[in-house]
């Protein structure tokens, strides 16, 4: 082992995160998502001009974990709250961080209308196919036959429909400038996710419209898996239902991401 002093520090906890320990379960990729957002803000030097809107969900404490000005939305209403902030502070960077229950279920109206208005905010959409915080109920994003505490014999698509693919849907809206889906299940994908977050925030900075990065994420606790198994489950089961990709990249946004 080489003494650290002689070496260059190539990675450390980003400044846009606080030192607080999170209350996420071990191996939960909410933590990865946080880190990526914080790194992106650091790199873009936006920490001091960013306002984070935290969701109701496991990430409810996000406003404490990020070293940013922040506030706490009502369940699902983060995009409305962010709209209120952004309209008054158009030169600030406004982020919402939302789970799939928050965004795709109770908050679908607010995200659609924010996107439809082309509201220049950025949404980090953490899709773990379940309601994490409340103990593992079915979400609109749960997979067919997925067992949850409110679909104990598996999600019955005949009664509850197919998983809701939000990115695909939002991509139909002209106001959406940048809508992509990435995954956090391995380092290579995490790297791509980071890049997408950077682009999304830049889309906001340039005022190109609404931007959202959907991140496939794990919930080892409620899936009843080890953290490593959970990553595999994302790869083996979620990717086919939620194909990764760029669902909407407006022309102006394309220049940025290129």
């Amino acid at each position: 082992m080489i003494p650290a002093a002689e070496l260059e520090r190539v990675y450390e906890r980003p400044e846009s995160l606080t030192a607080l320990h999170t209350n996420y379960c071990p191996g939960c990729t909410h933590g990865v998502a946080h880190r990526l957002v914080a790194e992106a803000l650091d790199e873009l030097e936006l920490r001091e001009q960013t306002i984070l809107v935290a969701p109701v969900g496991c990430a409810v404490f996000a406003y404490e974990y990020f070293n940013l000005d922040g506030c706490e939305a009502a369940h699902g209403r983060a995009p409305a709250m962010a709209t209120g902030i952004k309209r008054l502070l158009p030169d600030r960077t406004v982020l919402t961080y939302q789970g799939d229950g928050d965004l795709a279920s109770i908050g679908i109206a607010e995200i659609i209308h924010a996107a439809a208005r082309g509201e220049p905010i950025t949404t980090i959409f953490v899709n773990n196919a379940i309601y994490g915080m409340t103990g593992g109920q079915m979400a609109p994003t749960s997979l067919p036959n997925q067992r949850t505490t409110s679909s104990p014999s598996g999600r019955d698509v005949a009664l509850t429909g197919q998983p809701l693919r939000v990115s695909e849907m939002l991509a139909t809206l002209p106001g959406a400038a940048y809508i992509v889906r990435r995954s956090l299940h391995d380092p290579a994908n995490i790297r791509k996710a980071k890049k997408a977050i950077l682009t999304a925030i830049q889309v906001q900075q340039r005022g190109l419209g609404f931007s959202m990065v959907e991140l496939l994420s794990t919930c080892p606790t409620n899936w009843g898996m080890t953290p490593a198994e959970a990553l595999t489950w994302v790869k083996d089961h979620m990717l086919s239902i939620y194909p990764l990709g760029d669902y909407k990249v407006s022309d102006a946004a394309r220049e940025l991401s290129a």
Partner: protein
């Protein structure tokens, strides 16, 4: 040839999720079975026996709890810090 590097793990932050230990290409991370941190977890630890840490930062990229600081032998081509690890 691989670069030389090392990691410093904030063992109090660590939740022993093993994502880093499984992801490390050099297999130089493991959970410390002897140590229980205040949160009650066995934290990850660097253990270089056969292999050595290259400072590739794969562990840091996957760690959900931002516990890992990565150091690397200065490379000829200078790049921005965190950007470096995301290639």
């Amino acid at each position: 040839m691989a670069l030389k590097g090392t990691v410093v793990i904030d063992q109090e932050r660590c939740k022993g999720c093993q994502l880093c230990t499984l992801a490390c290409p050099q297999n130089v991370l493991l959970l410390d079975a002897d140590l229980l941190n205040a949160k009650g977890y066995h934290p990850a630890r660097l253990e270089e026996s056969h292999n050595f840490c290259t400072g590739c930062a794969v562990c840091a990229v996957i760690c959900p709890d931002a516990c890992i600081t990565v150091f690397r032998q200065p490379s000829p081509r200078r790049v921005e810090r965190t950007e470096a690890i995301y290639g």
